[in-house]
């Protein structure tokens, strides 16, 4: 089991998949933070005064964590962030589903429309968390360009 988890190729594949997901998820939010702020507001989970700050900073955390995973810089910090963000997204989506909100998750596109289901991104986030767990426990440090 340990040998599988530490496999260099498996670890690199997980880094690329998780990294690309986070970088691509950050792009629209960086371009249009106002729409992302509205997505956050739809969840009714954050204080209104903090929503814009989160909408401005969180996409860059996503982008840096994703790039950090792919290229191997600030690697442990990147793993912590993708873990924290994925668990937070799962929590927020679960609450939305539990409250009966049929909302766009705000994950990959602007929230010009609040039609959409939170269930599909919930399943995707669950799958993503499995890959992140692999990265968390893997001791592979090949193909990294920065501090480990």
């Amino acid at each position: 089991m340990r040998r599988i988890i530490d496999n260099d190729h498996l670890t690199m594949a997980a880094r690329v998949v998780v990294g690309v997901v986070f970088v691509s998820a950050s792009v629209y939010k960086i371009i249009d933070p106002g729409s992302f702020a509205r997505s956050i507001w739809y969840y009714h989970l954050m204080p209104g005064s903090l929503i814009n700050l989160i909408a401005l900073v969180l996409p860059w955390v996503e982008a840096l964590a994703g790039l950090g995973l792919i290229f191997g810089f600030l690697y442990r910090g990147a793993i912590v962030w993708v873990n924290v963000m994925t668990v937070a997204f799962i929590g927020a989506l679960t609450l939305a589903v539990a409250r009966g909100l049929d909302i766009d998750c705000g994950c990959f596109k602007a929230a010009d429309d609040i039609d959409g289901s939170a269930l599909q991104p919930l399943i995707l986030d669950g799958a993503l968390l499995l890959l992140i767990m692999q990265l968390w426990f893997s001791r592979s440090r090949r193909w990294m360009c920065g501090r480990k």
Binding site: G48, A55, V57, L74, V80
Partner: protein
């Protein structure tokens, strides 16, 4: 080391996000004025409430019902105003165009797909119009039991950039 790197990422992200916002064409205020669900801002109320009127709800409550698809939204304004822009999915029951006489058969046909205990949210333009209030009183009198009045109306809905539906361009 992981903690230190976690903080580095947060600091770099903050510098990039907040710094670039200063020169961005899509610039945001750092402190948002998003209305909180429980911030104490109550619903907008008309001056002439009577005991027994349907409850008045704030925009955030209306939005929750909207996103949960838990209510039918009824626009009480004239058809021209309705077609120019209304809450997405709303139907139009123009209060000032209601037929004379017994309104029961009229409402039964317009709301035939609803039972009388399903949730209906009635609105008009905003605080200067009261047709939503009068329509709600009529529906109450006919036995509709789960009514709410969103007195902020379409203007407050648009102010929060919530989804609207426009059937034709507005008249000048």
């Amino acid at each position: 080391m992981a903690l230190r790197q976690t903080i580095y990422i947060l600091l770099i992200a903050s510098a990039l996000g907040l710094g670039l916002n200063l020169v961005s064409p899509n610039r945001l205020d750092f402190i948002g004025n998003w209305r909180d669900l429980h911030d104490g801002d109550g619903p907008i109320l008309p001056p002439d409430i009577e005991p027994g009127d349907a409850p008045f709800i704030a925009v955030d409550v209306a939005q929750l019902d909207f996103s949960a698809r838990a209510a039918l939204f009824v626009d009480a304004r004239d058809p021209d105003e309705f077609e120019c822009g209304t809450i997405r999915g709303a139907i139009n029951i123009p209060f000032e165009y209601l037929p004379e006489g017994d309104l029961g058969p009229y409402f039964d046909s317009v709301l035939s797909h609803l039972s009388k205990d399903e949730r209906i949210i009635i609105f008009c333009s905003g605080e200067e119009c009261d047709v939503s209030l009068h329509l709600a009183r009529n529906l109450q009198a006919l036995g509709y039991t789960d009514l709410a009045i969103f007195f902020g109306g379409s203007r407050e809905w648009e102010r929060f950039h919530l989804p609207i539906e426009q059937r034709r361009p507005c008249d000048e």
